[in-house]
């Protein structure tokens, strides 16, 4: 099949196939509030088996006199409302979602099934340890697996997301330095880093010092050696970098830091390139976070929930957040709160336990061979895309790619077409865009991470689409600049949204 337009005409309708898609109907649907009318019900409570109370009398002046204007709908309307909304979304379940750095891989359904098993989903966090041994077994096994995968010595699962893990990790760094008598003042962050890294260092009370990347997009060892001093607490390093490049002199980086008493923090956002092939604990990393919602397949869910475990070397273990899971002599597991050197708590309870269950189910489904094959396929897919597109899109860094490849829009920009336009045009071809304009060290970046979840057929369709768009840029650039053309809404006015923010519905007066 070709990627050119393939028009199918009949006497009754016209449906145009472009790439792998053909338009279909979607339902219009208003806001849920606009569908409400008083007296409709979507619920029925069971009869009250205790005496009713006079709420106004019990609560006095704390009684709510005016009800919140929540919508009133029947069950079928609620089902249709949210189902219709769902059909306006693109999703991994529909096709390739090559957002670089986000690792949009398949989310196995057995994970969802086991996370909802009654004894796990309904466990209250304060139930006695004697009634929680099952879930504690799950936590313990996941901890053990993640330590083996990372090559680290100790771990906390408490952080709720990647940035929260960064926060926790940098607090460990700080607590350790304090225990050595000096918290130090600054954290070094490469200019290719995620925005969460500098934001994290700042909320941990550190000054952020920018580290300029070298000509290969990696850490400039000489610059690093110049910038690391006795005031440097840590380097926050993403490895592979946001360019998808493995820092092959990682051991020298660690040595330079350690020589000055600074620590190496690894942002594990790109761990999908490493699992089963190499372990951060073996190449000098002192502390790192993982994103269970990236590497370990827990669903992104439209923006969360995530989970950001932090693994560290033994010397940082005393500083882990409270509580930590321990096993008594009788084999029973319990939470230990007696941790005098701990950085404290970063979240109520124990973390996003529902995500732990899913991540462990993923690890069990893979086993050691599956985890390694997963990494290999992720890297193979990225390199396949790189090879097939490098003649059409500018490759600013020639360094070998791991799990993602970063092009620039240099050639297309000459025609006035930017990375954001190409991204929007991809939508018309049935794909979610890649990550646009990141990392910042590449002007007009196209950051593509296919993950291991794509078949050759889907990859080829993506490559065909990117080729077709490159051709359109030459021949009909306006078509690309005004994309997308096939979506429910065309490009939205973001300036208006920000200038006069409308952040909630209000009833018409």
């Amino acid at each position: 099949m070709t990627s050119e337009k393939n028009i199918h005409d009949s006497s009754t309708h016209t449906a145009a196939t472009i790439g792998k898609v053909r338009p279909h109907q979607t339902q219009n649907e208003g806001l849920v509030f606009e569908k409400s009318s008083p007296g409709k019900r979507g619920y029925k409570l069971q009869p009250l088996d205790v005496p009713a109370v006079d709420a106004a009398a019990l609560l006095g002046k704390s009684y709510r006199t005016q009800s919140a204007e929540l919508p009133e709908l029947s069950e079928i309307e609620i089902i249709r409302h949210f189902t219709r909304l769902s059909t306006w979304n693109y999703a991994i379940d529909l096709g390739m979602y090559p957002l670089g750095s986000c690792t949009m891989k398949y989310n196995p359904r057995v994970n969802e099934f086991v996370a909802r098993i009654e004894g796990l989903a309904e466990a209250h966090p304060y139930r006695p340890d004697s009634l929680s041994q099952g879930i504690l077994d799950v936590v313990e096994l996941l901890q053990r697996c993640l330590l083996e995968i990372t090559g680290m010595d100790a771990i906390t699962l408490q952080p709720a997301a990647g940035a929260h893990g960064e926060f926790t990790g940098i607090l460990l760094v700080r607590a350790w330095h304090e225990s050595q008598g000096n918290a130090r003042r600054k954290v070094l962050i490469p200019d290719s880093a995620h925005g969460t890294n500098p934001a994290t260092a700042a909320i941990c009370g550190y000054q952020v010092e920018n580290l300029k990347s070298n000509a290969l997009g990696g850490i400039d060892l000489e610059a690093l050696a110049r910038q690391v001093d006795e005031d440097t607490a840590a380097l926050m390093l993403t490895n592979p970098s946001t360019l998808g490049v493995f820092e092959n002199e990682i051991h020298k980086i660690a040595d330079i830091l350690h020589a000055k008493g600074a620590l190496l923090y690894m942002d594990g956002a790109n761990m999908n390139a490493l699992v089963g092939k190499v372990r951060p604990g073996d190449f000098g990393v002192d502390v790192m976070h993982l994103n269970l919602h990236k590497t370990f397949s827990t669903p992104h869910g439209g923006g969360g929930p995530g989970s950001g475990p932090v693994a560290c070397k033994a010397f940082l273990e005393p500083f882990l957040p409270t509580p930590v899971l321990v096993q008594g002599k009788d084999g029973a597991k319990h939470w230990n709160y007696d941790r005098p050197q701990s950085v404290g708590r970063v979240r109520a309870f124990y973390g996003n336990v529902g995500m732990f269950i899913r991540a462990l189910a993923y690890i069990l489904a893979n086993g050691p061979d599956g985890l390694r094959q997963t990494t290999e396929d992720a890297v193979l897919n990225a390199n396949y895309i790189r090879h097939k597109l490098k003649g059409l899109y500018d490759l600013p860094y020639q360094t070998p790619s791991m799990h993602e490849v970063v092009f620039s829009d240099k050639r297309q920009a000459a025609q006035g077409v930017k990375t954001g336009d190409i991204a929007k045009r991809l939508i018309d071809y049935g794909f979610h865009p890649y990550t646009v304009s990141f990392p910042l060290i590449v002007h007009g970046a196209l950051m593509i991470e296919p993950t291991e979840s794509e078949s050759v057929e889907e990859l080829n369709l993506f490559i065909d689409a990117m080729r077709a768009i490159a051709k359109e840029v030459e021949e009909t650039p306006e078509l690309v600049k005004s994309a997308p053309h096939s979506t429910r809404v065309s490009r939205l006015d973001e300036v208006q949204a920000a200038r006069k923010p409308i952040l909630r519905w209000k009833p018409a007066k």
């Binding site: 979240r347 489904a365 396929d377």
Partner: protein
């Protein structure tokens, strides 16, 4: 491996295509001494049926058939079936943060609806798209108040959830935000207004209280607001039990409301994932952390939604951002949105009233057993109450467990001054029979020798 859509032959063809001899060529950049040359020591690859067996066994080991009076920041409410039917639609479940608005209108409109419902419930002008949970939301709210006021201190009620206070302490330490505690009136179980008044100064950025507070008691928000505002401090009200808003007056005198929305259809799941929220008065909007969905139009004038005001956020502002938060709890917020749509305007009130009735009956029944007493009995409560017993809780809770009942949680670990006090919660899920049984077992203390 069943999740990987490639045949061995396809892998070889792809490698040949890109000019690689073997997959190892693609990993050659990793220094040889660090490459892992063995299998990871994790359990072997399992069949789906084995995975289900493993987790079912874990669930059974956890024990499921206990009645529970536990609350304290995590509440068991009925979860309508359609919540899981809808959130498991792949278009919601397997979609990313809606940065590409044209193909994520579903998520964006749902967030906009969520923001509207939270604003309605809390009495604030705007709400964000969610935070990690109630505890981190409270800490972020204090940091926000510091930015808004340009002041650097906080006053925190001791009746705020102890774990929320611990989280705040972790954040505040490195932001150099000294926090003073304001205690509670031992009779009423509410914040001691005189002590609060003494603690708040012209350096105070924020007063943080919880209502209903950790003892289940509704605080006098207008009085607290007057004290905070008199010194130019912001009032932050944390709400750990969101269902209370069906019947408890919204804290309209607050400047910032931070809430845990777990009660809106989110499983307990041993403490997470839950769903935090920050809602504020409009004038503080640009200092609010977290994502926001806003309404706009497309080129043809159609209504649509986008993530907006991103210049507050880390991916634009880096170290100058309002917070380092990136991922939020979108799918959990969707659960809450569906829950609130199911119950609606009348249902949320009726549900809250049922909780009030169950707790009133439970408090009355349990406290009339010999040796038991209701603490803070005069103050307005929602669905939690503090019971003091002559018998040590460790002793009677074992008796309850033998009868498959998990009783109230001991407060002495956080409030040693309360002695044998325990915190009980009765939601609509607790039956009269369970309450009566608990009372009977509680009363059957062994005869003292």
């Amino acid at each position: 491996m069943r999740y990987l859509p490639k045949s061995p032959a396809e892998r070889l063809t792809m490698l040949a295509d890109i000019g690689a001899q073997s997959i190892d060529d693609l990993f050659a950049v990793i220094p040889a001494e660090y490459r892992l040359t063995r299998d990871l020591d994790v359990p072997r690859q399992q069949a789906e049926s084995e995975i289900i067996d493993y987790f079912r066994a874990a669930g059974q080991k956890n024990a499921t058939d206990y009645a529970s009076f536990l609350g304290a920041g995590a509440y068991r409410h009925y979860r309508p079936v359609i919540i899981d039917s809808l959130v498991q639609r792949g278009e919601f479940l397997t979609s990313y943060t809606p940065y590409q608005a044209e193909i994520t209108q579903g998520t964006l409109q749902a967030i906009f609806e969520f923001q509207t419902m939270i604003a309605e419930l809390t009495g604030m002008d705007v709400a964000n798209a969610s935070m990690y949970d109630g505890s981190t939301g409270a800490a972020e709210a204090v940091m926000m108040a510091v930015r808004v006021t340009g002041r650097s201190q906080a006053v925190v009620a001791t009746t705020v959830h102890p774990e929320y206070r611990e989280v705040l302490a972790t954040y505040a330490k490195h932001q150099q935000i000294p926090t003073a505690l304001a205690g509670y009136d031992p009779k009423a179980g509410r914040i001691d207004l005189a002590a609060l008044d003494a603690a708040v100064t012209h350096e105070t950025a924020a007063v943080l209280v919880q209502s209903p507070n950790f003892f289940g008691i509704v605080e006098d928000i207008p009085a607290i607001a007057a004290i905070a505002h008199a010194k130019g401090a912001l009032l932050i009200v944390s709400i750990a039990e969101a269902v209370s808003l069906g019947v408890v007056a919204p804290p309209v005198d607050a400047d910032i409301v931070t809430m845990e929305a777990q009660s809106f259809g989110v499983a307990l799941s041993y403490g997470g994932p839950f769903c935090g929220v920050i809602a504020v008065k409009e004038q503080y909007l640009r200092q609010m952390p977290g994502r926001l969905a806003g309404q706009t139009v497309d080129r043809d004038g159609n209504r649509g939604f986008v993530l907006t005001l991103a210049t507050r956020e880390q991916h634009i502002r880096r170290e100058k951002a309002t917070s380092n938060i990136c991922t939020n709890q979108a799918l959990v917020a969707l659960m809450a949105t569906i829950f609130l749509t199911v119950y609606g305007k009348e249902g949320i009130r009726e549900l809250a009233e049922h909780n009030l009735a169950k707790a009133a009956y439970a408090a009355q029944t349990l406290s009339s057993q010999p040796g038991a007493k209701l603490l803070f009995s005069g103050a307005p409560r929602f669905h939690e109450f503090v019971l003091q017993t002559e018998e040590a809780p460790a002793s009677w809770s074992k008796r309850l467990l033998d009868n498959k009942i998990v009783g109230g949680i001991e407060l002495s670990r956080w409030y040693p001054e309360l002695g044998n006090a325990t915190l009980w919660c009765a939601t609509e899920m607790v039956t009269r029979q369970q309450i009566d049984t608990a009372a009977k077992v509680l009363a059957s203390a062994p005869v003292e020798a």
